[in-house]
């Protein structure tokens, strides 16, 4: 069990009776969950709506003992998030998966903005070339900030397999980034 998981565990034990403990968990996971949902949905309004549902589901699940202590809280939370995103697409069947997300760079130097904007565009192009399974790993690892173990639990695979897959993705990104740069 990692330090984060141990911290989660302590907070979870308290959170069943203590709103402050659940609030601490909320603060810990709000941004990763929101980022993950935003990337999958592509607009702020729906991302906020889904993020709210994820945390309300988690709270209810926790108080109604649907979450088991032997599990990984982050994996469980992101399982809820994934389901909520899928529900969203089912309910809004006309909604297309976001291909472009509005990029924003508040407070950046104009020169850096141009440079970073180019980098982001290049990154976006590269990520779009990955299949959905690999894109999901990137989202969980970098936006969701999940550990390899947590992703493994969430995806139902071994930790070694997840590490291998992510290393290959990074390798592929590195090679193609340099090719595009060149």
């Amino acid at each position: 069990m990692t330090d984060n998981e141990r911290d989660d565990q302590e907070l979870l034990e308290k959170a069943r009776h203590d709103p402050d403990a659940f609030t601490a968990l909320y603060h810990r996971y709000l941004t990763p969950v929101y980022r993950y949902v935003f990337i999958r949905i592509g607009n702020r309004h729906d991302a906020e709506d889904i993020t709210s549902k994820v945390f309300v589901d988690a709270l209810e699940g926790l108080l109604n003992r649907r979450y088991h202590e032997d599990g990984k809280f982050a994996s469980w939370l992101f399982t809820i998030a994934k389901r909520r995103v899928i529900d969203h697409y089912r309910q809004h069947s006309s909604t297309k998966l976001p291909e472009e997300i509005e990029w924003a760079f508040p407070g950046q130097d104009p020169f850096d903005q141009v440079l970073l904007s180019e980098n982001k565009t290049r990154l976006s192009e590269l990520l779009k070339q990955l299949d959905e399974e690999k894109q999901e790993l990137v989202r969980l690892r970098f936006a969701g900030e999940l550990s390899f173990g947590e992703i493994a639990t969430l995806e139902g695979k071994s930790e070694a397999a997840i590490k291998m897959a992510i290393r290959r993705i990074i390798q592929w990104l590195r090679e193609n980034w340099e090719v595009n740069n060149g």
């Binding site: 009776h17 203590d18 709103p19 659940f22 609030t23 909320y26 603060h27 709000l30 941004t31 929101y34 980022r35 935003f38 990337i39 702020r44 906020e48 993020t51 709210s52 945390f55 309300v56 709270l59 209810e60 108080l63 109604n64 003992r65 990029w103 924003a104 760079f105 508040p106 950046q108 970073l116 980098n119 982001k120 290049r122 990154l123 690892r141 970098f142 936006a143 900030e145 590490k163 992510i166 290393r167 990074i170 990104l173 590195r174 980034w177 340099e178 740069n181």
Partner: protein, 550 residues
Amino acid sequence: MVDLDYSLPPDIEAAFNDYLSSLEPAPGFAALLEQELRHRHTELSAKKHFFSSPFLQWRRGKIVELVRTQPLLALIITLIILALLTGAAYAFGKLAGYIPGFGFTSDAQSVYLLSEPVETSGEDLILSVEQAVSDKARFWVKISIKGMINQEDFFQAFVSLPDGEKLPFQVGDTETNETENTTLIYLFPPLPDATDQLDLLIEGLGGQNFLIPLKLRPAKPDEILPSAPEPPTPLRSETHNGISMVLDHIAPSNEGTIFQASLQFDQPGMFILGDWNVSLMDQHGLIYPAIDISSNTENGNTKIFRTAPFTGNEQLTVSLNVFPYSDELPVYLDFSTDDANRFVFDPGPEPVLGQVWPLDNSIDVGGYMLRAVSARLASPDQLLFEFESPSNVTGVMLYTPDPLLLGGSGGVPQADGKISAGMTFKSIPSQAFEVRITGVYYTAHGDWVIQWRPPAAPQTSEIPATATAFPIQAPGATPTLSSSDPILLEVQNLAQKFDEPFQTGPAWIYIKIEREINPRPGQDFPPPYILSEEWIETGCGRLCDPQRAH
């Protein structure tokens, strides 16, 4: 963010980080969701366990939608559910007095019912016994009286058994309906198995004594049993600061008495913060175990406990315990749906760090008179409000609909007796805004105790061995408890050596283990709910009677 072995090239990482840093949740959204989660946490914690069953998680809207769009399917589902519930209830009814996760039931196989209504009369009074039911948990009788003019409180009822034993009633209730008929309900301890006749004695009713012979018959296998009346007047503690403790259900058995205790509030939106428990002590000062066996789905205001079987002669004091101070119950009073508790605060156009605004706003929040006396800009984005309050109020929760709000925090009591509470903003509003008090934290003081004479365990079979303390029970020939715990083995060994010269039979060791969790100055010690007791029988050695050993 990424392990060394899995690091991204700097350019990619920078692009990633910048992209992700632009995906921060809006502060207003984060603050509102936090408030919503806090509110929901409080609400959910208080909901009865019934509503937490997965079936009832179905939203009302979905049910209505189903009935509207697919009425036939809805009807079939309803019939299936009814059939399942009826079957389950019947199956449960066949079981013992308490079923974990279900509740208190009767054993239909050993139920006896009144074989026929009985009527008797005295001066101006006609008494009709309408129902009498004997099961393993109790014997109860319902009597209708015509002609009773005055409500009388002090009459006695007994059951006289064929062997001459006389049982006094445990709980009685009187109610008069619109036709001026009076109904008496008496609950007695359980009768000996297969009792089919007895006399009911009522003394002092209208200045008269009545002796009513009753005949009972076994319930038929599929007979619908009359529902047992709940104890008409549940045992209840005094109410302190709007809270009382109630003994809701009691189920005696040979293996232990199960009882349910609840905390009840005199207004909605009240929640206990923290855990609570009860302790049991009899008239001789003996402590009985009260083991919390509440199911996970029980709400925090109701708990089910298992204790020892009783003889019926114990007079118990049931005391509420709260950790760490047994007479101080932390309570939260929620007013989040009530926007009447508010005042308007104007920080002005250019507030300065450290600036103090004197205030004089009195607000009656659920009977607690609070007075906002000042506000202070404690940091560039935080305002701290100070309140004068009654001494048992320990904090308030603040909220404002202003979109700049990031979050609110309840404060702690200050040395001068005032309380403070903060509000954090994205930036301090430049206009007047409304400050709402959405919750009050206070400490309820009191001595929540119930005097209880628990019903006797059924005498139909030998009381089995129990590893739980049973202070008044004479030790029976229980098998030696096997344990691999090195401490217990050492205790057994030492006791054996110590007792051997005097031992003429088996001996019992009483082990009491006290554990403390974060003790604080001034707490009651030890808190009974972390005290465990155990009886262990030692081997009887060469002096033991070999006949008895088998």
